[in-house]
């Protein structure tokens, strides 16, 4: 997964003076803004959320309204969540796939 400081898929158009938050995806630290959804936070510096399970393509969300379930992402502890409809919290630790072996860095 492409991470960290490079510009990701999304372009921030406004409201960029919100407080920063830090979080981890597959063990790699990322930064975003308070009030971002998990999807916004990840796609601000990455081009996709995860690998598709039924094909070679990647996933980056589709409906953003909780209807398609394209944006599933996993927490290091506990349940999966919908990235488009979950707000990002400081210190969140996320996984791009439901694997126990997450320390390997993911995809």
């Amino acid at each position: 997964m492409k991470l960290a400081k490079e510009p990701g898929r999304l372009q921030r158009l406004s409201e960029t003076s919100r407080r920063p938050v830090r979080f981890h995806v597959d063990g790699v630290e990322m930064r975003a803004l308070r009030g971002d959804t998990v999807l916004t936070g990840i796609l601000a510096s990455a081009t996709y959320l995860r690998q598709a399970e039924f094909g070679p393509e990647k996933r980056a969300g589709f409906c953003l309204m909780g209807a398609c379930q394209d944006c599933w992402i996993w927490q290091e502890h506990g349940p999966r969540l919908r990235a488009c409809s979950t707000l990002l919290h400081d210190g969140m630790r996320l996984l791009s796939q439901p694997s126990q072996d997450w320390t390997g860095g993911g995809s």
Binding site: R12, G35, D36, G55
Partner: protein, 456 residues
């Protein structure tokens, strides 16, 4: 006191709650949003500062008024509001609700469903890649998060949302590479004259936005395929109205062909459905005020796609019908006025449906390798060959071919799937069967499902 449960807090649900609270009831509202508002009047999370005018444009006054009214009722505890909560299904007078605190059962005497609508999607080769979104997604990203889903966005499909989203993105400074409308200009003019007759101001506003798009906008476009590389789309290939081939470079594509009513909960609650030629979709049956069954009411885009103003009107109508059925006094004059208003909205909406039709020919002609089901990667060819085995019945094709079984529960493949089944079997779409909804209405942990006893 009667327990009324409202599902959805968009304009229809918020307005229904307002009418019931005004009459002294304390309705419960279950909603998937962080804050009440729905899609069109969706509010950003705390800490965002854009003005209502920037968020909702010409609809800012209406949006703010509804938010204020609803928040005030909730603050006074005259409306019980459950945000971030999904109804999974119904069982013996209770709704099974999955929220931030886990699963709860909410008992009710009457049910008002105001579940709204979502983008009606047609597949095209390459749409399964990352970086292809629904039109609604592009609007939500902008409104609720202040972001564009890419830097060179192509918007394609048809319907009022196509022009509106393009206009909003450009006004906010996003890069729009092209706006490809599959509706031919001739149909738009015919439908448009009906729209103009019913709601001249709204029609003129749309036409004005369209003019503002200038040469980015193309009517009568035929979409061929989306080409993608490592990081998402790189180009969309399409033909213009004069059949010339174009490849427009882009990094994001947002697709949508007007809207589809969200009817899973209505289906689980036992509503009857009729095929609508106008809307080219199955729609729930209800009387003019929204009565759809025993102690069951529908309002808003989940019943008829009339937009935010129509949804507010329908919310008032359904709430008053519910009050009248409970023996409360209801103003016949108010109800009559809203019925007249709704009739006008319907005329307008029918014009919209004719101006921006479902692209049946494009879907029927799609190549065998086109992925229909984005969830599980099922292709048109597989579906076509399943029809040979299963016959022309959507539910049988579904169980054999899995189209409609993925995690979106058929929301984004179901309509195109039925079109292909009908084409392959040589029957009308109305005779190809309607995909029945199964609980849960949203994917849920097993523990949450144990009380949803299967009743089939």
């Amino acid at each position: 006191m009667s327990r009324v449960l409202i599902v959805g807090a968009g304009p229809a649900g918020m307005r229904a709650a307002d009418i019931l609270a005004e009459a002294g009831l304390v309705p419960t509202v279950v909603d998937e949003g962080e804050k009440a508002g729905g899609q069109i009047y969706r509010r950003p999370p705390d800490g965002f500062t854009r003005s209502p005018k920037a968020l909702y444009g010409s609809e800012a006054v209406k949006a703010v008024r509804l938010h204020r009214i609803f928040d005030e009722w909730a603050r006074q505890r005259r409306v019980t509001y459950h945000s971030r909560s999904s109804v999974l299904g119904f069982s013996e007078g209770e709704a099974m609700v999955l929220g931030p605190e886990g699963q709860i059962a909410i008992p009710y005497d009457r049910l008002i469903l105001a579940t709204g609508a979502y983008d009606r999607l047609a597949p095209l080769p390459g749409w399964e890649q990352a970086g292809i979104y629904s039109l609604g997604a592009a609007q939500i990203a902008l409104k609720a998060q202040g972001v564009a889903l890419g830097r060179r966005i192509v918007l394609a499909g048809s319907g009022p949302l196509l022009t509106l989203v393009a206009h909003q993105l450009r006004a906010a400074g996003a890069g729009v590479a092209a706006v490809l409308d599959t509706a031919p200009l001739s149909m738009q003019l015919r439908g448009g004259s009906r729209m103009l007759a019913a709601r001249p101001f709204v029609t003129a506003r749309g036409a004005f936005m369209r003019v503002g798009l200038g040469r980015l906008y193309h009517a009568g476009a035929r979409l061929e395929r989306i080409e993608s590389g490592q990081d998402g789309p790189s180009a969309i290939h399409w033909r213009d109205a004069r059949n010339r081939l174009h490849a427009t470079a882009c990094d994001t594509v947002a697709l949508g062909w007007h809207l589809q009513a969200e009817t899973v909960l209505a289906d689980l609650a036992g509503v009857t459905f009729d095929w609508s030629d106008t809307w080219a979709q199955w729609l729930p049956r209800a009387d003019a005020e929204g009565r759809a069954g025993d102690r069951l009411y529908l309002a808003g885009d989940g019943l008829r796609i009339l937009g935010a103003d129509g949804a507010e009107t329908a919310g008032r109508l359904a709430a008053r019908a519910c009050l009248a059925d409970l023996g409360h006094p209801v103003s016949g004059r108010d109800q009559y006025r809203d019925l007249r208003r709704l009739t006008r909205m319907r005329r307008f909406a029918q014009g919209v449906a004719h101006a921006f039709p479902w692209p049946a020919a494009m879907v029927r002609g799609m190549p065998d390798e086109t992925v229909i089901c984005r969830c599980e990667g099922i292709r048109a060819g597989e579906l076509r060959s399943t029809v040979l085995l299963a016959g022309a019945e959507a539910n049988r094709v579904k169980s054999l071919g899995r189209v409609g079984m993925g995690r979106c529960q058929g929301r984004y493949c179901g309509r195109a799937g039925t079109e292909l089944i009908a084409a392959e079997a040589g029957v009308e779409v109305a005779n190809a069967g309607r995909l029945r909804s199964q609980p849960p209405a949203r994917p849920a942990p097993i523990a949450a499902l144990c009380r949803l006893a299967p009743e089939e």
